[in-house]
């Protein structure tokens, strides 16, 4: 990995109307390699603008991330405003347009220089390059729990601090007093000695001519006045009165609507339909034959959908027409066995020698776990509105990756990327799904056939059956316990590996480890799903830890503690969850507690689930969640994300199952792809450990822990060990006798 060789600096300017703008520019330094292609001229390239001090002393913060309910449109401006000592009441937020000028330099910098790797959701989607600085700069992605960790830390805070520094210097010059005598507060600068006070806006012209400090001093957490508080989110008022505009709400002059049906067997081609097939359908305008789908354009969505339902839509035969879920699992097992036999498995972690240990071991435990495919099922079904003209294309969509969408649309329309304009809207749920541009590509191809804008809406059935799925997986474990109840060797094999890299790794001090995986061929499309690989590996590793604790005859909390020999942050989080959940206190008959611990996206989480089995019905009463995300910038928002992630993970653990039948997804809507509802929703308590450690993510890290906390609790209550999700497929029976 190369060092960041170009010099980045902060730049300013004044816009007409007297607004000071502050952004980040990059000065060509080392022009080697791919980087030089990015920087066309010899001059400085302004990559983005982060803030504007307006003439009326209000401040506009420009945020390069999409709002999908995670609160980023509020938290990022907070980070900037605090460093600037701005008046929070006058802060406005503007989402940056999907444009290269606003691409996310901070992410690139985070990747190259930061303490953490950029999650892979942030790469590989724009064009050919992969994991290069050049590439990162042309990204503007919301995902991987990255907004605060990278954009916030590298861009927002620095821009705010730099703005404060130049305004202070300008005031010092203007008033001919030492900068040290000035006080900055609530968007004003005052000089107490001479009793003078003036708004920031009085100094913007002078400030814009000053050179910027390359590394402005950032506040310590004790100095924060806005960061670490929970002001109301900017986006909420529009979400209680129906005025928030989601992608599906876009209205354009002369717009028509399209419904679509794609091949249920992924990859199969659609048989083209004659244009005349709709001639007797009033209000229905056109059939568009795409390679793998048929779309119908009509005056309204319902008309389009009704027409589509009556058309004889057929698809070609495909090699996958007979593939079922068990074939996929059989293939996994075969590939895992073959990889083992041939010794060509992909190595993930190799420590010590498990072979030597297993040779002599007397207490060897093995287990195999399975998880099914999962769909995202965002509340807002996939949709996109497109208008294709001769010289370009405009799309209106809620996207986690507007630049990636622009690039994909440009490619299928054979246009330059600059000719595609993305108008990003609120996202009715993202969870990773809205980083895939499939619906935008379809909308553009449909709109290309007509001279008016078309809003393409997927039915819920399309949404469930044409997703990019969290994969089904199998994870096999073999471990040995010594006579002190310690794990001597840990062998783990699974299929596929994506992101985050550490998902299958354990925080426990085990000297001999071999963690490895193999790839397997499948025709089911894969996609980022909230917490990605951690959504399954926490279930695998933390279930197995529980099984080992049982075999060692040690309390599962104590067993984890005993193995956290060199992980003080993990230990603190685990202890907090145990303490708050009254771990060890007696429960009524048929109740159980389960504990789990997992780090993802820089945040360590431990959870305790408290459940009851009433006859054959499971009731999840309470979930205690302890988290160490380093510093928390918006505690109420962080709590909301923890709650959200737990409900999302619990939904999957209890009900989530996408299964493949005859090459296609069997489930189709909420009646057979069930969601957790209010009556089943447990009481959730979140406890945060805050520190000056590098901030971790908020959107994803609470999802992984809930499945193992739940199934470990079921074991505690009933002795039934669930090794395959979802729980709904298992017959539960309260029977504490099994545990002796």
């Amino acid at each position: 990995m190369g060092k960041w060789t170009r010099r980045a600096f902060i730049t300013t300017g004044v816009l007409t109307g007297g607004a000071l703008v502050i952004g980040v520019a990059i000065r060509p330094g080392n022009r080697a390699g791919k980087v030089k292609d990015l920087i066309g001229g010899e001059g400085d390239t302004v990559l983005n603008i982060w803030l504007k001090v307006n003439a009326d002393n209000t401040i506009t913060v420009i945020v390069p991330h999409a709002e999908m309910g995670q609160g980023v449109h509020t938290t990022l401006p907070m980070m900037l405003a605090d460093e600037m000592d701005a008046d929070w009441k006058t802060i406005k937020m503007l989402e940056a347009p999907g444009n290269k000028e606003y691409a996310n330099y901070a992410l690139g910098k985070g990747f190259i220089m930061g303490p953490k790797d950029i999650p892979s959701i942030l790469v590989g989607t724009v064009d050919g390059f992969f994991l290069t600085a050049t590439k990162q700069i042309s990204l503007q992605i919301t995902g991987g729990s990255s907004s605060v960790r990278f954009t916030g830390m590298f861009a927002m805070r620095v821009a705010g601090a730099a703005a404060r520094a130049v305004l202070l210097e300008a005031a010092s010059e203007e008033w001919e007093v030492a900068a040290g005598e000035l006080v900055v507060k609530n968007s004003t600068i005052s000089h107490p000695a001479s009793d003078r006070t003036a708004p920031f806006s009085d100094f913007v012209v002078k400030a814009s001519k000053l050179s910027q400090p390359a590394k402005p001093r950032l506040k310590t957490s004790e100095e924060f006045t806005i960061m670490g508080t929970s002001p109301p989110r900017f986006d909420i008022p529009s979400k209680v009165d129906g005025t928030a505009n989601f992608g599906i709400d876009v209205v354009l002059p002369n717009m028509k609507y399209a419904a679509i049906k794609a091949s249920p067997v992924f990859g199969a081609k659609a048989k083209p339909l004659e244009a005349s097939a709709i001639k007797d359908m009033p209000g229905v305008h056109k059939i568009v034959n795409l390679e793998g789908a048929i779309a119908v354009i009509a005056d309204g969505y319902w008309l389009a959908k009704k027409a589509l339902n009556t058309l004889p839509v057929e698809f070609d035969k495909s090699a996958h027409d007979t593939t079922g879920q068990s074939d996929i699992y059989d293939r996994y097992l075969q590939d895992m066995d073959t990889a083992l036999a041939e010794g060509n498995e992909e190595k993930d972690v190799k420590k010590g020698s498990i072979k030597n240990i297993f040779k002599k071991a007397t207490n060897v435990i093995e287990a195999e776990y399975r998880v099914p495919y999962l769909a995202h099922a965002t509340m807002e079904p996939m949709n996109c509105t497109a208008l294709v003209k001769e010289d370009g294309c405009e799309i209106w969509v809620g996207s986690q990756n507007p630049l990636g969408f622009a690039n994909s649309v440009a490619e299928v329309l054979d246009l330059d990327q600059e000719k595609v304009v993305v108008h990003n809207q609120y996202l009715g749920g993202g969870f990773g799904r809205r980083s895939v541009p499939d619906v935008a590509i379809q909308a553009a191809l449909i709109s290309k056939e007509v001279d008016y804008p078309v809003k393409l809406i997927w039915s819920r059935e399309e949404d469930i059956r044409q997703d990019h799925y969290r994969e089904a997986n199998i994870s096999r474990f073999k471990a040995s316990l010594n006579d002190k109840g310690q794990i001597d060797a840990w062998n783990n094999q699974f299929v596929f590996k994506h992101d985050p890299e550490e998902a299958p790794h354990i925080p426990y001090g085990v000297d001999n480890q071999f963690i490895h995986y193999t790839n397997s061929e499948t025709h089911i499309p894969w996609g980022y799903w909230r917490s990605v690989d951690s959504s399954m590996h926490a279930f695998f590793t933390e279930s197995f830890m529980d099984e080992l604790a049982f075999k060692a005859n040690i309390d599962p909390y104590q067993f984890r503690r005993d193995h956290l020999t060199n992980a003080p942050r993990f230990l603190k989080v685990l202890d907090l969850a145990a303490e708050k959940s009254n771990w060890g206190e007696a429960l009524p008959a048929n109740w159980g507690r389960g504990i789990s611990l997992h780090e993802s996206f820089g945040t360590i989480v431990a959870q305790v689930a408290e459940i009851e089995i009433v006859e054959d019905t499971l009731k999840v009463h309470r979930v205690v969640c302890a988290a160490d995300p380093g510093f928390v910038f918006h505690p109420d928002g962080f709590n909301a994300q923890m709650e959200s992630g737990i409900v999302f993970g619990l939904t999957a653990a209890l009900y989530g199952e996408i299964s493949i039948e005859k090459g296609a997804v069997k489930q189709s809507n909420f009646h057979d792809y069930q969601m957790l509802r209010m009556p089943e929703s447990p009481k959730i308590e979140t406890y945060i450990i805050t520190s000056d450690n590098w901030p971790g993510g908020g959107g994803e890290p609470s999802t992984p822990c809930i499945a193992p906390a739940l199934t470990n609790a079921i074991f505690n209550a009933s002795g039934i060990r669930i090794r395959e999700l979802p729980v709904k497929n298992h017959e539960l029976k309260a029977d504490s006798k099994i545990l002796g």
């Binding site: 005025t243 969505y301 319902w302 749920g429 819920r460 109420d636 209010m678 959730i684």
Partner: protein
């Protein structure tokens, strides 16, 4: 065909079987009511017919012609601005992505019209038809309780003032 939506009469010339949802969104242009599943399973399309919460994705317009239709755009109080539920939703910072919240608020509104002091079980029951994929259920519940209290206080004040 005439539809009375939020006390405004709209003339529509459409197939009487057309679901109310699409007429509200596309013909009338009130986009606060959302499409979620099309089979009455998720509640995103919830509106009220004569004060009762219904799923507009399954309700043909012919079944709504002689009724008062209320959508999220129609529940604010003309005198005091936002409805108590909307204020409570802001106070409790309920929405995340926000897509399901119009439907949640309309279901809650229907509940509070019939039951001014709902218990947790009443709320569970009334809200079980509305899915929130962001999992904001506990905040929705708090919001309903807060709004119920506010409405009860307002009602008491009115009685006292009138008495």
């Amino acid at each position: 065909m005439k539809l009375n939506i939020n006390n405004t009469i709209h003339d529509v010339d459409l197939d009487p079987a057309t679901p109310l949802l699409w007429v509200i969104r596309e013909q009338v242009g009130l986009t606060g009511t959302k499409f979620g599943c099309g089979i009455g399973q998720c509640g995103a399309c919830t509106v009220q017919l004569d004060g009762l919460a219904i799923r507009s994705c399954l309700t043909p317009i012919q079944a709504a012609t002689d009724k008062e239709i209320t959508t999220i755009e129609g529940i604010s109080d003309q005198d005091s601005g936002l409805h108590a539920l909307q204020k409570a939703w802001i106070e409790e910072q309920v929405p995340q992505c926000g897509y399901c919240q119009s439907g949640q608020i309309l279901s809650a509104h229907s509940l509070l019209t019939q039951n001014t002091s709902p218990t947790d079980e009443d709320i569970d029951q009334a809200m079980s038809g509305n899915i929130c994929r962001c999992g904001t259920y506990s905040r929705i519940k708090s919001g309903i309780k807060l709004a119920a209290e506010e409405l009860r206080n307002t009602a008491t004040t009115k009685i006292l003032n009138n008495g």
